[in-house]
Every structure is written in C-alpha cells, then in structure tokens.
Symmetry: C2
Amino acid sequence: MSSSILKSSSIKSQLIKTAKGTRDMLPDQMFIKDKVLSQIKDIFKLHGAVEIDTPVFERREVFQERYGEANKLVYNLDDQGGELLSMRYDLTVPFARFMATHNIQKIKRFQIGKVYRRDQPNQTSGRYREFYQCDYDMAGQYKPMVADAEVLKVFCQQLKNLDLKFKIKLNDRRLLDYAIIEKALCKQEQFNSICTSLDKLDKEPWESVKEELKLKGLDQDQIMKIKEFIDIQSESSVKTLEQLRYLYPNNKILDEIQLLIRYLEEMDCQENIQLDPSLARGLDYYTGMIFEAVLTGEERNLGIGSIAAGGRYDNLLGYFSKNQSIPSAGGSLGIERIFNILEDRHKKSKSIINNVDVIIGSMGEVESLQLMRLASFLWDNNIKADIIHEKIRFKDQIQQAISKGAKYMIVLGEDELKLNKVLIKNLNEKSQLALDFEKPQIIEFIKKGL
Amino acid sequence: MSSSILKSSSIKSQLIKTAKGTRDMLPDQMFIKDKVLSQIKDIFKLHGAVEIDTPVFERREVFQERYGEANKLVYNLDDQGGELLSMRYDLTVPFARFMATHNIQKIKRFQIGKVYRRDQPNQTSGRYREFYQCDYDMAGQYKPMVADAEVLKVFCQQLKNLDLKFKIKLNDRRLLDYAIIEKALCKQEQFNSICTSLDKLDKEPWESVKEELKLKGLDQDQIMKIKEFIDIQSESSVKTLEQLRYLYPNNKILDEIQLLIRYLEEMDCQENIQLDPSLARGLDYYTGMIFEAVLTGEERNLGIGSIAAGGRYDNLLGYFSKNQSIPSAGGSLGIERIFNILEDRHKKSKSIINNVDVIIGSMGEVESLQLMRLASFLWDNNIKADIIHEKIRFKDQIQQAISKGAKYMIVLGEDELKLNKVLIKNLNEKSQLALDFEKPQIIEFIKKGL
C-alpha cells in the first residue's frame, strides 16, 4: 500500500461512502441474515433440493436480449481486453445457462446470491442496487401440476417457518389468456399491457384501472368481460373454482387448477393459498401457474409488497440448451424484505445478540497470560468466549459482557488466584460463586449451564 | 424474455461457457463448501468474532492507489452514468473503508466473500478470477502481542478442525528489517526487492536466490549477513529464538517475539507454529508479526502453496479514518485451496452425499396424490424426503434412492395399500418391513432410525 496523494481529512471523508444503492451489513444485521438464511436453506433441503452457485458475472451475450426492457438496468464491466462481461440481473438466466453448460435435464435446486440492477434505489421499501435473491426451482418433466404443487408447498413452509402471517395468491396465466383473448376478444398483442393494468388492482381502485383499459383501446363490452372474470373472488379456492366453472364451462385449464387445489389440500397448505383470478404479475415468461405471497398480519401495513413470487415457465430454461425444452416451476423469496421485517422485530424485542457465552475479566494485577490460558482452554472445549484485556473498571467489564450477550463472566482476581480460586458470575441470574481454578471443572460447570 | 435472434444451436453452444477464470459450483461442490464454511464460521464465532459484509463493488476512488502494481488487475465497471465503480480485489481495503464509514475503533470480525482479479487463471493450482476470501481480523488497541497470539491460535484451530496436517511459519517484519537494513546495511529502498527474492526460498535453492541478490547489487558481505540470519532454523521456536539472541544480543524485537511464543505455548499451539527467519511474504503493508501456513502431510505434494497467511498491519485500517490509526492483526484462509483438498478427499472416499433421508417410491397403480400426502407429512415433521413420481422399474427407484443418499425408502404398493400397509426398506441394512399406513407411526419409526 503506497502512502498516497490523498492525505487531507476532507478528501478522506469523501472516500468513505459506499456506492449508491449498496450498503454494508453490520454485525447485528449479519447475525439475523445468517440465521434466516440457514432456516431457509433447511426447508429447501427438506425437499431434497440441492444448492448450486454461478459466477457474479457472465459473458455479455448470455444476458443480451434476455431481459427485454430491463436490459438497460444491467451493469456492464469495462472493456479491459478479453471477453465483454456483465453482472447478473437475476439468478434465472444464469440458471438456464447452467443447465445447458452441464447438460442437465432435471434438477430440484436452490440458489442464494446477490444480483445487480442499475435501478432507482429506495431504502424504505428495501430496493437496492445490490441485493439477495433466493430461488427455488423444480426443472424437468413431472406429471401435470405435481411440481407446481410442491413449489407452492415449499414457499408456504418457508413463510410459516419464518413466523410470518401471509396469504399466497394463485392464478394461471393460461386462464388469464382465455379470459382476455378468447372471451373478451382482446388482441394478443394487447395482453401484456392489459395485465400491467390489472396488476395495479392491489394499489388502485377499479375505476382508475378501467380508465386505463379504455385508453388502451378496450371497449365497454371487453372491459365488462374482464371485470366479470376478475370479480370472482372468495376466501375459498374451491368456491372460486366453482364460480369459474359456471362462467367458463368445459374449460380444460380449470381441470388442471382443480387438480392443483386437490394436491394443495392433501399437502395441508390450502389455508394459506387463495385462487385469485385478478392476480396478473409481470407475465412475459410465465406459461402456467403463477403466485404471489403478501403479508396479512400487522406487518401488512409496512407497505413492502410481495414477499415471495413465482410460477411455471416452460420455455425459459431450455433456451441455451440444444434441441430440448426444460419445463420448470419455481419462485423467489423476497429475502431483503424479509430481512427488514426480522431486523425490525429484533429491534422491537430489544433482545441482545449472543456473540459469546463467556467473558473472561480480571480484578487487580492479573497477567494477560493467565486470561489467555483459560480462554484457550474454553475455545478448545468448544465454548464461545472472549477476553477483556483492558484494565477498565469492573462495572464496565460487566457491562461489556452483557452487551455481548454472555451468560457467564469468569473473573480472575489477584486475591482469588492466590487461593487458587476464580469467580464465576451468572449474568442472567445475577448470582456468583467461587470455584477452584481447575480448568476441567470450570468447563464442566459452564457446559452444564449453557 | 423475448424469443430472440439467437436460434441456431451452433450459436447457442457458444453461449454456454462461463466467463474466463470463473466456474459454476455443482451440487456436490456446494455441499462440501457449505459444510466447510459453516465449520470455519463456528471457529471464528468461538472467539466472539462478529461477521460483516460489504458490497462487491465500491466507488473507484476507494481502490485507487491502494493496490500498487496489482491495481491493473482490478475489474472496473463500465461508465453507464453516475459513479465510477470497481470490483473488490480483496476484503481488506473494503474493511478499512467500513471502519471509517461506521467510525469503529475496535472490532474482532470475520468476513467471507468473493473477490475479483483479472489475473491469469490456473485451474490446477486453484487460481480463479472470481474466488472466495475468508478473513479474520482483530482491529484496535491491544497489549503487545496479545492480538497477534490470538490470530495465530484462531488459524491453528481452523486448520486442525479441518483435519489438515500443517505447519505455520512465523516471522516478524521488523526483524527482517533489522537483519537486512541495520545489520547487512542494505538500503531501505532495496528492502522489498530483497524480500521478494527471499520469498522464493521455498521453491528455489539458495544458489539461485544468491545470484538474484548479486544482480540486485548486494555485495558478498551483505549476502553473507543475510544468509547467516535466514539460516537460523530449528524445529523448536525456542531454540531458534536462542540463536537469534546470540546473533543479535540486546535486540528489543526479540523480547516481543519471546512474549508471543510464550503466549502460543500457553494456548497450546506451539507445536504447529515454527519461528522461521527466512519467511518473507509480500511485505508492503505488514508492520510486525507475519505468518504463513503450509501443508505437511501427504497432501503437501499437491503443490498448492500456502493455505493461510497474514500478519500485523498497523497503518492500513486507519487509512480512510479521520485522525486515527487503527492497529490490526489478521489473516486469510486459502479457502479455495482447502475446498479443492476436501473435494478431493470426498471423491477418494467415494462416500455418497446425503441429499435426503427418505425416498418415497411406488409399485403398481398408485396416484401421485398419495405419494405427496405422505411426503408432505414427512416434510411437516422435519424429515428430508423426496418423491419418485415417474413410473420406472423398482430396481431403478432403489438406485435413485441410494444415489441421493437416502437411508429409507418407503414404498406405496398397490397391493399393500389395499391392506392399509406400506413397505419401509432400510437401504443401508438391506432389510425391510411392512408397517400399517398410519402416518404418525411411520414418522416415529423413521425418526428413531435416523
């Protein structure tokens, strides 16, 4: 490291900002993140899913044309000689490339990693330029609705396990297609645009969406047909399905939806899942079932939108693969939003993060050597411990121990050591006792109490 | 996803390469990686270290001038309007920026993350352009040699815990300074260059290093003085120290090294650590203790160089901080190299990775509904399970179960189900029994056996 031209503190202070839309993770945040991610991984693994990873950047051609409009939000790397590279915008396109590279036809996989978007950051809603995605996919041939059902079961389990109150809205892209194109007789090229308007229904009233549809050239009759379809809603998916049957008798897609609902009942997650004909997500690559999870408890009012979403996309994964299509159903957890909720809960609960179980402090003239000898023994016996080497007031030592979440404080005191004793304070119970300074005995005592 | 111009399979096949020097992680690799990282984290946490994370890219000014020669290996992001950004080359400079941003004076932290170098990739030695670093640092004021000793203890524990045979070579930059500048009377500006030559001693014989030193302008007497110093080597650090005392009586640095060795003895890791005056790593930012761990067992012959390294750098962390210096000791685990070793061991052991504990298969006409009902019950009871939905030969079902590391296979058979029975095969013991198809009873049986 050359001692450089940048010496004055005013220049230094400009240097300490993170890049726009990115942030550091502080220890408390990392503690929660680590805990949440390990819970999430456990659920994926329950289903026999395997984990994969792909590089943060790929050859630019891999992404080109893949993101449509969003392509302008992709970060490119500078041309420094060699290949032209871009940073991943999501984990789905790299997954498609992965399937082709390793010639895989079937996999149940999850992937957790950071993705990059040159988007307008918005810290309150948790939108960053660098953020985690947490994807689960069942790729490959399955019987109808079998993978779709398991994907929904997985996200249901995830959200329950994170102790969130939620509802998963369920729909099928083909049904929307049928209602909008076949029944309301809209043009195929209007489909995406109409869905974009419908997608606003959870924030805007019908009247304004209706005006939008008019402006998009739909006539009174078309709008009425669409309204009739999206108005079919009930707490019970079975009832919603009955009404859809009444509206569209002989529709084969409804048979498949019925089968899906049947599977969900058998897997005991129908209570959290609700068939909702008005659900119309960014639909460009979905080919069947689509879903979106939203909060329903008190935390609904945090205004953070959906916390999980996905669907079936049968044409995406085979894109890079030679002569093969790879049907797939999957979804993504809105992990940054979930971090925010759980961080918030942690702050409200005012609970202290347990960084260590034991703090070793001292009173009087005690050498670091003695503190380290004991700490080393604790570490070798798998006990989380830290040492206070500084000569600070005993009160402050205890404060430090508490702030690190320690349950015990072992005090090496000048006077006690002469009698071959140490003090062990139980910081939770505010009790203490003197023990012979014999290391195995101390370990045994601590282990019993943890 | 627009269906794009790229249709022909020949163009497709060019698209499936990862970028040069990067690689995908396949499920088996990720399984091992995950296990290793969690073991590593556990040891860091034993010491009360907290985890932090920083973004993958930073404003370019943060890195400028920080890496000297290596600056040309930094990946820059394209100028797409807004800030100029670069990708991190290591985790140390971002850590220095982190300390300043959050105004932290003391922290014991670890960080695990990918870093990026436009270096010549070399897959056999495990050198990639995208790779993990795994850093541990004790930043802030401590008594002399206290943090240095704990850092060495941490890496000692890490390598032991990973079941590696290793030796940590230990030296002090100030001692090298003393030997080269004060005693051999070389010029200060020659120091780094001389150390670069000495650093080759583990690969090249003394004669060629000697020639290099001659070419660098050192005379016979200077070379002899240096040789005399680096020749002091013994299995025992205490003996090496004695000889150094004899060579350099009254040298105060030797008092500190003696104290460090004393601490290491007390922490029971002197056996793996060896004072070695010839150790001279890339020394530009080290200011005191330096170390490097190498393999000593059979795996020494893999030719993978050092598996952990670090030292004291008192001037680096305070660089971005206003008016303050932040002394620090720390190091890095060569985690990619360690992955390679453990992957290799795994392959040799031919052990199967346990992706699930139970596979649910079928015989005869059994509906997916029934398979899913049972699987769902297992998942809800925290048992790792997967279903074989395909109608494949029973032999192949068993093969699939074994390849996923399952211990049990539950068979729903058409005939058995009529009698309300299921078969449970213990695949390890090649035994089986018929059980009443009552879900709690099945759970109990499986849980007992896992």
